[in-house]
Each structure stands twice: as structure tokens, then as C-alpha cells.
Symmetry: C2
């Protein structure tokens, strides 16, 4: 993460918080500045303009996504010795536990902006739809190659099914957290989701 001066970081934090609650167009530079305890014009010593803040959010979110990619070595070990459904349960629950309030807020901003802003839309497509599904598909293929799951299934579709449910549950979580709730229910939901899919994928008998 690029080093930020105290003020710049403060502005950024306040902006993320306000954007996530009122949308990018619902927050003025003025309000961000006052929220950060400085005058409006001082913002421009830290960000070129309002859009520059949004772009920084995109960059920061991307870094966050890259950073929390699961360890590949660890995963291979898991595939060898754990039940298939346990691996995905762990994967999903790890995501939920490793979330920070910052990542939640950035995700919300990007989800809101996706229909307006091309860059946001690309982020959703890449980091919330394609990349996760690709990743799940790769894991499933490894599992199938090792004979851990049935091999008569379209694993791309299975990967997308895993991601549909995961995304649905995480969206729920983001809303719940925004409203002051917690993530206990979500763990159960993720577990049920994984179970449902793997009842389908695991070998019968």
C-alpha cells in the first residue's frame, strides 16, 4: 500500500465512509473536507479533484483483492487432505473473517457505481464475477482430477453456482453490516450454500 500522509489518509477514510452511505454523487468535496476536519480547498493539496478520490478507491480495492488471494501451496495441501466441501467452506469463511470495514465500504461504492461508471463495472466483472469463478473452477478441476468429486459435471457451471450464492450472501452481509448487524448468520448461510452445491458434486454413496 502506497504511503499516505496523515491528512490524505484521513480524507480518504472519510470519503470512503461517506460515499458508501450516500453514493459518490451524494457527497460533496465540502462535506468530505469538514468530515476530515479541514477546509474544502485543502482537499486539493491531497487529491487533484473529486474523481481522483474515486479512482484511488478503485486502486485501493484492487490492491486489497490481490492481497487477500489465498495461498496456493496451502490450498494444494488442503485439496489433498480435506473434504471438498470443507475447502470451500473454509475459503468463504476466511473471506468473511478477513474483511475490513474499509473493504466492505469500497465494495459497496463499487457495487453502487457499477451501472454508472465503466471502471467500476469492469471491477465488478473482473474481481467479483470472472476471477472468483475462474479460481473456483480451477480448484474443482483439481478435485476432479484427484477423484475427489464427480467428473460428469460441467465444472464451469458449478463454479458459477458457487459464486452466485457466495455473492448473494456477501451482498446481504454488506447491507447488514451497514445497518449495524454482524456476520454470524452469514457463516451459517455460506455453509448451507456449500453443502447444497457439494451434495450435487460429491460422489454418491
Amino acid at each position: 500500500m502506497k504511503r499516505l500522509s496523515g491528512t490524505r489518509e484521513k480524507i480518504f477514510d472519510v470519503a470512503i465512509d461517506m460515499f458508501s452511505r450516500h453514493g459518490y454523487n451524494g457527497v460533496s468535496v465540502r462535506k468530505i473536507a469538514y468530515g476530515a476536519g479541514i477546509k474544502e480547498s485543502s482537499i486539493y493539496n491531497h487529491f487533484r479533484n473529486k474523481e481522483d478520490i474515486l479512482n484511488h478507491i478503485f486502486d485501493c480495492f484492487q490492491e486489497g483483492m490481490q492481497a487477500q488471494k489465498p495461498d496456493q501451496k496451502e490450498l494444494e495441501y488442503e485439496i489433498e487432505f480435506m473434504a471438498p466441501r470443507e475447502i470451500f467452506r473454509l475459503l468463504f469463511i476466511k473471506y468473511v473473517k478477513n474483511r475490513t470495514s474499509r473493504i466492505d465500504k469500497m465494495a459497496l461504492i463499487i457495487l453502487m457505481e457499477q451501472y454508472i461508471n465503466q471502471k467500476a463495472r469492469n471491477f465488478v466483472k473482473e474481481f467479483m464475477l470472472k476471477e472468483p469463478a475462474d479460481y473456483y473452477e480451477a480448484i474443482l478441476r483439481t478435485m476432479a482430477a484427484k477423484g475427489k468429486i464427480r467428473d460428469d459435471t460441467d465444472l464451469r457451471i458449478a463454479a458459477e453456482e458457487l459464486n452466485y450464492g457466495f455473492m448473494g450472501i456477501i451482498l446481504d452481509l454488506l447491507v447488514a453490516v451497514q445497518e449495524g448487524g454482524d456476520h454470524t448468520v452469514v457463516i451459517q448461510k455460506l455453509s448451507d450454500h456449500v453443502d447444497f452445491v457439494f451434495e450435487r458434486l460429491e460422489k454418491q454413496g
Copy 2:
């Protein structure tokens, strides 16, 4: 549907179109007026204020959702004589085919506003999450009672699985349509989704 004067309808149409592309906060009353071919102040002869337009969108969306509820008698007939998976395939494809550009745009507006506007959020929860899942669950229970699907499954979870995939695919569709695409791919995706779930639910052998 309440009768609208020509101008009011024109304003409403333009507003839906602009809100769906730029968000509620990204469109001014002025721009809507000019888009509708009238002066800004004339808007206020048709809507009390900007928010009144948004509320009318909510009302109109709700009417649209109620209106396209599937026929109950027809459904019972289908459950008796069609394969379980065909019923859901039909249900989902009917939705896709019956969509209008207006409904798509209103859905997009509500999806965008859900994190900002409490009323929008309630709409999403009620009409996109809870009500569809309840409906699917009821159908599945009827199927199970008639011995058409396995009875060793939590049907609430199955109903939610059906809805996660459906919502994910529909969201994809809304984006694709906004970008000028069509819905041919989507029909296949919905079909794959239903197949995946019913491989799990239908009786073995």
C-alpha cells in the same frame, strides 16, 4: 396503472431513462425537463419535487411486479404434468421474455439506490429476495408433496439457491441490455442454472 397525462408520462419516461444511466443523484430536474422538451419549472406542475418522481418509480415498479405474478391455476397444472426442472426453466424464461425496457430501468434504479435509500432497500429485500424465494419454496414443497422431487432436502435452502443464481444472471442481463446487448446467452445460463439445481433435487435413477 393510474392514468398519466401525456406530459407527465413523458417526464416519467425520460426520468427513468436518465436515472438508470446516471443514478438518481446524477440527474438534475433541469436535465429531465429539457429531455422531455419542456422548461424546468413546468416539471413542478406534474410532480411535487424530484423525490416525488423517484417515489413514483417505486410505486410503478411494485405494480409491475404484482402484475406479472404467474397464474396460480396454470402453475398447479404444470406441476402435475411437467418435469420439475421444466417448470422453473419456464418460470425464469417467462420473466426474461416479459421484461420491458421500463421494468429493466426501474430495476436498475432500485438496485443502485438500495444502499442509500431505505425504501429502495426494502423493495430489493421484499421483491427480489424474500418474495421470490418464498414463491419458489412453495412450488418446491408442492413438488415434494407430490413425490416429484426428493424429500430429504431443506427446501428453503434450495429455493434460495434457485434465487441466487436467477438474480445473478438477471443482474448480468440488466448490464448487458444497458450496454446494448441482448438476452440470448441469458436463456442458456438460466437453463444451466436450473439443471444444476435439479440434478441435486430430482430423484436419482
